[in-house]
């Protein structure tokens, strides 16, 4: 029994060292990539896809606000502004020039946390301008490192269970 235990422990050590080298937070996460269009101060949702990776964090600047709702509860909110682009250049006479330019029409993307089913709501200066339902079938493709990590976790649980029995 002790040999089995040592075998398990060494296996876990090797796997955890391997996993340490090749995994991180974003590998096992998904985000919802929203394809949006901005035109005349309003925003339309052109599509969405579930993608593998980390969603963007909560941003606080901009007149526009996106909310992700699940079961009518807000699970994510973030600010943005697709109506303006800044351009800058330094050099001539040691001066900076460029300035902000208003955008009339632009396709843009937001990556928000993935939820299976829910709603997207977008506001412009707190006035609702878009409300759309979405339903994403969660088909998460686990990476090798992710599987390894999960497997190590399962092993730890099993060995902990065994240790409990031994003691």
């Amino acid at each position: 029994m002790e040999r089995i235990l040592i075998g398990f422990a060494i296996t876990i050590l090797v796997l955890s060292v391997s996993a340490f080298a090749v995994t991180n937070d974003c590998v096992n996460k998904n985000y919802l990539l929203l394809e949006l269009s901005y035109e005349s101060r309003t925003v339309t949702l052109d599509g969405y896809t579930l993608e593998n990776g980390c969603p963007s964090g909560i941003l606080k600047k901009g007149d526009f606000k996106v909310e992700v709702l699940q079961n009518n509860e807000i699970v994510y909110t973030s600010s943005f502004d697709p109506s303006i682009i800044f351009t800058d250049i330094g050099g001539k006479d040691n001066m900076v020039s460029g300035g902000a330019k208003g955008i009339d029409k632009q396709k843009f993307y937001l990556n928000v946390p993935a939820v299976q089913q829910g709603q997207i709501q977008i506001y412009n200066k707190n006035v609702p301008i878009l409300k759309a339902d979405f339903d994403v079938k969660q088909e998460v493709v686990r990476s090798k490192s992710g599987s390894l990590f999960d497997w190590v976790n399962n092993l730890i649980e099993e060995v902990n269970h065994l240790l409990g029995k031994v003691s």
């Binding site: 002790e2 340490f20 974003c26 593998n52 351009t87 800058d88 460029g98 300035g99 990476s143 992710g146």
Partner: protein, 253 residues
Amino acid sequence: MFHINKVQILVIVIFAVSLFFILKINQENVEYSNGNVDCNLVYQGKNAKVNVVFLPYGYSDEKRFFEDVDSYVNGEFGFRNVEPFKSNFESFSFYDIVSENIKCDVTDNTFICEDLSAKRAAANCPNDYIIVLYDRDAIRDLIVPIRSSAYLNLASINTADHRLVVLHEFGHIYGGLADEYVEEGIDIDIDRFQNCDVKNCPRWSHLTNSGCFEGCGEINFYRSIDNGIMKNYIIGREFGIWNEYLLALPLQS
């Protein structure tokens, strides 16, 4: 009550070492399987609230990209050494990703990267703000100068410009700050841009170390510092006390 023999002690030690590596996993470099893109940790803030990802464009040498990122993070004009990022450095984490999938273009002498490809690449790391560095030759840029740009949470940077251009663009995307130089034909929404104000500057007039200088995007508005980074990053070396306050504000909540 409990008998622990040498074998059990050995097993416990091995588990402890394993646990250490597993806990460390989230803090180190990684390989993302979908596209074989590495997310490299440049600096992990101890109380990180903001994640910044650097992406390359036009680099023929990865080492040069890493050196540029290091310069923009740790250099004299980098986040580590310019207020208010200097005092709040532990609130930031920085990553870089070597990806060849970033699509950018130069339109009207402005360097602008595609939102989609940048966001997809940046998703390999924790990401709030994305900075694409365009490895532009200084001499070529002298002949045909191009602008850097900031749109949504994405800054597209011409590396031939002054190093402080990164913090200037970051001031736009992170801090929501307006340009403080005056450009003809620009209309500034004074309600939106807190770094500009009307005459007498009531927004920051209570601050002793600030001024009220004519011109902030438009000639009719006023700024708090004569030559700050948001007005002229070639000669300005600081944001100014009011802008520093505005930039540090999101980190307080």
